[in-house]
């Protein structure tokens, strides 16, 4: 309180059933990353390679929920992050991975690992280390409470920067018309 410099906000990020496109877009804010790093520090994130999330101010979740591990990680984020943000189309509505939702997961696995032409002696992977897939891919708001949603496939770097700088400054994030898009 008596310090001149305010405490840095802790930010965690993760990609669940996503393609890392949203993270790439995040990195696309280019030189603003320096400005951002004056105000935040990263906790768990692909950028730090930390495996668990400590108490954080902001959690950014890319991707929907497609397997049991995603559920655990998402719940950890919700527990640890004061503000949880669904980043990008897949986190918001399941996106591309959810395009399997009208297919039977058993048939999908068999088609890929057993009956695919040119495949000899295949078997459906059953290593206990592998997280079990869910029968459907879900948007993250169907599993935990989500505070903000930042659409886009991916959202542009510009939109992510605007959103985060609003949030960090204590304003309710709001995107200008051209920044809000679903594709």
């Amino acid at each position: 309180m008596s310090e001149a410099v305010p405490r840095k906000l802790k930010v965690a990020t993760v990609s669940l059933a996503g393609c890392f496109g949203c993270h790439m877009s995040f990195l696309d804010i280019d030189e603003y990353l320096f400005e951002l790093l004056d105000k935040i520090e990263f906790d768990r994130s692909p950028l730090t390679d930390l495996k668990h999330c400590g108490p954080c101010d902001i959690g950014l979740v890319e991707g929907g929920v497609c397997n049991a591990e995603n559920v655990h990680v998402l719940r950890e984020f919700r527990r640890q992050c004061k503000t949880l943000i669904a980043l990008g189309a897949c986190a918001i509505n399941g996106g591309l991975p959810a395009q399997r939702n009208h297919l039977d997961i058993g048939h999908c696995l068999q088609a890929v690992y057993l009956s695919r032409p040119g495949l000899a002696g295949g078997h459906v992977p059953d290593d206990p280390e592998l997280p079990l897939p869910l029968d459907k891919v879900h948007p993250i708001h169907e599993v935990v409470r989500v505070d903000y949603f930042l659409p886009g496939c991916p959202p542009t770097g510009e939109a992510i920067w605007r959103f985060l700088s609003d949030l960090i400054a204590g304003r309710t994030p709001r995107l200008d018309y051209p920044m809000l898009h679903f594709d």
């Binding site: 918001i92 591309l96 959810a98 948007p139 708001h141 018309y177 809000l180 594709d183």
Partner: protein, 261 residues
Amino acid sequence: MSASHGRPKKGSLPPGGTAHSAKGAQTSATFLLDGQPVPFDEGQTILEAARAAGHYIPHLCWHPDFPPHGSCKLCIVKVAGRHVSSCAMPAKDGWEVESNTPEMNGERRALLQMLFVEGNHFCPSCEKSGNCQLQALAYDLEMTTPRFNHFFPDRPVDATHPDVLLDFNRCIFCELCVRASRDQDGKGVFALTNRGIHKHLVVNAESGCLGDTDFSKDDAAAHICPVGVILEKRVGFAVPIGQRKYDARPIRVVAMEEDKP
């Protein structure tokens, strides 16, 4: 509900814009739309009169060439504490109509959210993206989340027609294609069947396939779908992102500009 009958046939084709609307001439009937006076002719609906006076009210199932359908409810406004569909409700002198208010827009947003979760709207792979009225309304009303749980229904596409693809995943049951094919093309290619959550669009052929009808890509019905169901083949994604219809400007601006002669 019989608003469609006896309605003066104007609204859509106004060569003179608002020329006809009551600037003191035949009628002095006026209602207030969000506090702004809107003149109207007897029998004109709230939406038509508002539009003729340059005010946009959101809509999906309404189209200037057809009688009101009243199914999507995006056009809801509040009159004397009651919700009415402005596309179907004839205006009355002295009414105070609320449309562009946080309350009405919140309800419209909820309706959009229900439409999104009821179908499969994966915009990044949709050829209509950027030109889609459902998506454009979602942008304009700042719908950032579908909010409800997704249904993820199974709706196989129909690719049997040589020139046109049907992707039922995105149908919002506005019946514009049904009406256009029946009333303008004289073909009756489409129909809605079943009710409630089981309602869906069907093709009028024994096989159920569009390829077995006399549907043509030059039909009015081929160009009327407000979303990405009826798509001409081999022309998708021609316009780059950034230059599509609603990329830079919201639907409420684009729609009013399209009305201009």
